[in-house]
Amino acid sequence: MKYLTIALPKGRLAELTLELLEKSGIKCSQSEIKSRKLIIEDDDTMVRFFLAKPSDVPVYVEYGAADLGVVGKDTLMEEARDLYEVLNLGFGACRMVVAGPTELRDRLDEIPDKRVATKYPNIAREYFELVKKESIEVIKLNGSVELAPLVGLSEVIVDIVESGRTLKENNLVVLEEISDISARLVVNKVSMKMKSERIRNLIENVGKELENA
């Protein structure tokens, strides 16, 4: 039998996923994951895990280097990879929003040619161009996006918001909601068929566990 390879995003999502998988009957020792080993194999169940940078998970899965993966909907939207997106795992819930200074509340549409700072250039572009039918200047940043409107780098930002506390502390508000975000189970399109039975069982078991929770 061939290994079933699962790519997990480093960090909290990985822990939550492992917990869920364990409850669904897949042996995965947490302590091993916390060690520095890159790949953890279980020869009894022929399941193999590895941890990757969250934004890389869809790449591993699309190319078939991993059969399955867990990844945030934000990354999936941004990367637009060719995958099966089979389950909404529910955790890691947050929202993708357009945010800006308080004075822009209800006045977002009044700024022409706005500059939008974001870690998600594709999502920002798609939202403004396809949904709002306007052209924008996208400024790609790698972190602390909230800073951009405060120092005049951009008028607004597109980012994920969980509690909204960071926004509030910086006098920013949510101007528009783009979509809800949560963790998804994704599957390589070829693996889904070549390893059909095992993957179907896994999806079913995890699905049941989610319903019970």
């Binding site: 078939g64 099966y84 997106e85 909404n88 396809l130 070829v190 889904m192 068929k193 070549m194 059909s196």
Partner: protein, 418 residues
């Protein structure tokens, strides 16, 4: 300066990699030819209009484009099916229909790369143009099975879908425009959660809704078809199912059912497909290595109504699979005998060379002065043995594996091999 590099997504193929690729092409060529297909060669460069009139949006975006002296846009062909359809519609006489053609050639798409996919890639495939008989669909799928085997892939699935089924079901949802595109994308990614959310906001017939929600799960063996048949009375849905089941029944006669599965949620990737579509999947490759289907309207963009069906297999992906699964080893060497000579042994070398060639032994000349260099070369290119001619009939042979040396005389060999 980029003079030391090949363009992104384009590769030099050397040594055994190249010979294995050419051998694989040859196996496919023989398979297609012996099954009634005739080979065609079409230009690598075509007018842009050939592809734009065929309306394949995906291909248009990714084509390399140039302009000729008269201001016409030229393009590197992004696929082989559209040129084949052009040939059938413009060059083949009616009495020769259906045209059964095969090809093996390079295609180019500027935006793909990764996971084994290249921007310059070799496609080999068949097209049957001028018949709508589902028997031909089955035959083409049977040929797809045989092509996978001929290429050396043994564990694989040919997965069937039906454009009429998925399109009709989406149409029945009543969604329009962008929503319909989003629905197609969600079905294609088996995003049951997304489909549910999208349908909730719209008034959709309950039966249609339940079919759409189950669509991500409608894959597997032939029983998938039976379970759907009992759930709808829609004529077009049923006729799409009947078409699939007829094709699968014929495939049973060909004895290849073990390789066949169905996915009713398969969405067409190329605009010209109209009926059955299929793709070849295997271990070690995250993308389909083979794809095909029925395209009944493509030829009409070349002013002739010719229903058609066909497939192509990607040589580059097939070879990547074989390497990854360890079925072939890169640079394994070419074998044969090196005929090496000192200048005074040249005439003897020619005799030995011709004698070996008469016995069909792969042979290569190597004039040498430094023996160690010469042996190094023989090892590096993967020869099996060396014959050295040293003049006046003196010869010495070396077995590369064992290193064993044998002295001999050309006179003594004359009776035997020369």
């Amino acid at each position: 300066m980029w003079n030391l590099y090949s363009p992104d997504g384009m590769q030099d193929v050397l040594g055994s990699n190249c010979s294995i690729k050419k051998d694989t092409e040859k196996k496919l060529r023989e398979l297609f030819r012996d099954n009634g297909f005739s080979e065609i060669e079409t230009p690598v460069v075509e007018y842009y209009d050939v592809f734009s009139s065929a309306g394949s949006e995906l291909a248009l975006r990714s084509m390399y484009k140039m302009v000729d002296g008269k201001g016409r846009i030229l393009t590197m062909r992004p696929d082989m099916t559209i040129p084949a359809a052009r040939v059938a519609a413009t060059k083949i006489k009616d009495e020769k229909l259906p045209a059964k053609m095969f090809y093996c050639g390079k295609c180019f798409q500027s935006d793909i790369q990764g996971g084994g996919k290249q921007r310059e890639f070799t496609e080999s495939g068949i097209e049957i143009i001028g018949s709508s008989d589902p028997f031909y669909d089955s035959f083409v799928i049977y040929m797809a099975v045989e092509a996978m085997k001929a290429a050396g892939i043994n564990e694989f699935i040919i997965e069937l879908g039906q454009v009429d089924f998925s399109n009709r079901l989406m149409e029945m949802s009543g969604l329009k425009g962008d929503d319909l595109d989003i629905l197609a994308k969600m079905i294609d990614s088996k995003d049951f959660f997304g489909v549910n959310e999208l349908l909730m906001g719209n008034k959709v017939d309950d039966d249609v809704k339940s079919l759409l929600l189950d669509l991500p799960n409608m894959y597997g063996k032939v029983d998938v078809l039976d379970s759907v048949r009992s759930r709808t009375g829609d004529k077009r849905l049923l006729s799409a199912i009947d078409n699939l089941s007829e094709i699968m029944t014929i495939l049973e006669k060909f004895g290849v059912s073990e390789y066949i599965s169905v996915d009713l949620g398969m969405i067409k990737r190329i605009d010209y497909y109209t009926g059955i579509i299929f793709r070849g999947l295997t271990y070690g490759m995250g993308f389909p290595v083979l794809s095909g289907g029925r395209y009944d309207n493509l030829c009409s963009s070349f002013s002739k109504e010719l229903p058609a069906t066909g497939f192509s297999i990607s040589l580059d992906l097939v070879l990547a699979v074989l390497y990854r699964n360890g079925e072939i080893i890169a640079d394994s060497g070419r074998g044969g005998t090196l005929v090496a000579f000192l200048s005074e042994g040249m005439a003897d070398a020619v005799l030995v060379y011709k004698a070996l060639r008469n016995q069909k032994v792969p042979t290569e000349f190597y004039p040498y002065s430094d023996e160690a260099d010469m042996i190094g070369y023989a090892k590096a290119v993967g020869m099996d043995g060396i014959v050295m001619t040293k003049g006046k009939g003196k010869i010495e042979t070396i077995d590369i594996d064992s290193g064993e040396r044998t002295l001999g005389n050309l006179e003594a060999l004359k009776g035997e091999v020369l």
